[in-house]
Symmetry: C2
Subunit: 361 residues, 2 copies
């Protein structure tokens, strides 16, 4: 197979988020939907139709059938978190590359099983943290890395939240103990933690301490929580994640010389252009009656939505493995694992009565 | 004396911040500078000249002389924090109303001495937290109080910081153990804490827990720190304050229905107009590829800078006491005391190894 042929995706399950990723696969220049499987073939058929899948797409009444299809190169796994370890491991064993929804696992022990299986089978692993692939993210990182403009990082705060209504809080898988036991921490805290690690170039904190009094539902699943993270050199981070609050997707990073702010980092306000705000070398005016300058808006355009860029990047890596015998890129499993380690530490800190928890890779 | 005659201010000391407040007094329609005192009459003379004081201003070579002047109604006290209790108490005993720079005291025990003396002498107390008096603050509060637009408060984060250069960190009173022992916590953390309490209608948190690893200078004065605050009903707040970071003056408040953001709440980017940002009832677009709406900028104009509005408000209260025999307004001492209680709790939590500290009024 030439390395320019598109990566053929199999979709495991008909989760709502799979609609977004299906469109992304269709938009990506180097990917096609090859198969979709559901526990019910009727559901899979309806899903394929509703999402405008190509007529060549194979429709299966099981996930196994997708994994057994030799014309599937990679799978996208949007199943509930508790099912990730089973299906991601099976996929890797069948030599399918794995694009796994976040949170990637219930804990790092599970994730390590997945990552080891991917590594030993030579398949690419990537988590579906879409915002990582927006060109805005690279532009923001440029600013954070600029010692003249931003200086060195001192502090970062992230809030990621959305409002789950009564029906959501009763029925959604994200608040079910047997399906997504990490609740808000896994669903939205994942983004906060990834954002924080992204600002530190993935240097893990020394300690993670959960904020007191997370909100839990009646079966103990987290609906809102937060934590503080601290590094050896005095850098500090805090986050708040919630399913009980109007949508917020913020990073506020403070450096010795500048500040970065973004309010829609997980999902942008517009598909084709996304803003962020920088300010640098701020000064007090005469008599300290004003501060200047005011932050400047930077707009970053994109020809493809971030989720399509994610599919494109993943497919590029897969293509290189298929066509050029490259090894899987270790960056993506590594940052997944670091994110999961911090998720685990927040959970452990909550369970230990908000005591600090050390994070060791 | 008629209640329409301007309040006659005496200034205790020639601190840099007194230049800003002197201008504010000259701008306020109901206040005049009547006297200035310094430990050196030469310094006071030079200060009066540099700041364009009226030729009628009396120049004294001591603070006591200002307090003994019967033509001084009120004093503005910009002295180092460690001197507040002595001079604010003396001022109250001499029946002078007290506009006191923040942080108002080294601890609530000291503050209570000041407040009791003000109360028993029937003089108005107010801390010089200028942003409270900007019309933007009232407009932001309108939004936070709107159950349809903001819903109920769930979480708030505040960052207030500026960058102290080498010379500042060596010589400024704000980092001297004998002058401003609260360091960054008193100088800028005060604003974070006030902002957080302002969002909760001054309901005190149940517990305050300092974030781990504050940065201290060689004599143990705080250069950066943070804390989390939690309320009984699941509301949560975090803040970060620092003298080591580019200027940031942020509040990000998340409600069940809306979000408020402001980036220059302590000192605005412009004197005559100040922005804040609101968004409400945010929704995911089709396939959750976008969120909408984007936040909207609100601009609030002001005819006087916030510090002049502070002087005007304080002078109105003083005028009512002088002219109409009103009692001093208790709102201002009460919110000062609540702010100080949280400052003290953060300090106590740091000293107790980041354990949670209960806050009791």
């Amino acid at each position: 197979m030439s390395d320019s042929s598109p990566v053929r995706f199999g979709i495991l399950g008909c989760a709502n988020i799979a609609r977004k990723t299906s469109r992304a696969i269709s938009l990506a220049p180097n990917a096609v939907i090859s198969a979709v499987g559901s526990r019910s073939i009727e559901k899979a058929t309806a899903f394929a139709k509703e999402n405008g899948y190509p007529s060549t797409t194979k429709i299966y009444g099981s996930y196994e059938a997708v994994l057994d299809d030799p014309e599937v190169d990679a799978v996208y796994v949007p199943l509930p978190t508790s099912l990730h370890v089973k299906w991601a491991v099976l996929a890797a064993q069948k030599k399918k590359h794995v694009l796994l929804e976040k949170p990637v696992a219930l804990n790092v022990k599970e994730l390590d099983v997945i990552l080891e299986e991917c590594e030993s089978n030579g398949v690419q692993f990537m988590d579906a943290t879409m915002w990582m692939h927006h060109p805005r993210t690279a532009k923001m990182k440029e600013f954070l890395s600029d010692s003249q403009r931003f200086g060195h990082l001192k502090s970062v705060h992230s809030t990621v939240a959305y409002f789950g209504d009564t029906e959501f809080l009763k029925n959604n898988i994200r608040v079910k103990a047997d399906l997504d036991a990490l609740g808000a921490l896994g669903d939205v805290g994942w983004y906060c933690i990834r954002a924080i690690l992204w600002t530190t170039d993935y240097e893990l904190p020394k300690t993670v301490t959960a904020l007191r009094d997370p909100e839990l539902n009646e079966v103990g699943v987290i609906l809102s929580c937060g934590a503080s993270l601290s590094w050896k050199d005095g850098r500090i981070a805090t986050f708040y994640c919630s399913l009980l609050t109007n949508i917020a997707m913020d990073i506020v990073a403070s450096g010795s010389k500048g500040n970065l702010r973004v309010h829609d980092f997980v999902i942008p306000f517009q598909e084709n252009v996304a803003p962020f705000y920088t300010v640098e070398n701020s000064r007090f005016g005469e008599l300290a009656t004003v501060i200047h300058p005011a932050p400047t808006e930077q707009q970053v355009g994109t020809d493809l939505p971030q989720e399509a860029l994610m599919v494109k990047k993943f497919s590029n890596l897969v293509g290189s493995i298929k066509g050029k015998d490259y090894k899987p890129d270790k960056k993506w499993p590594t940052i997944s694992r670091k994110t999961q380690l911090v998720v685990d530490a927040v959970k452990a800190s909550i369970e230990k009565g908000f005591k600090p928890v050390e994070v060791i890779y």
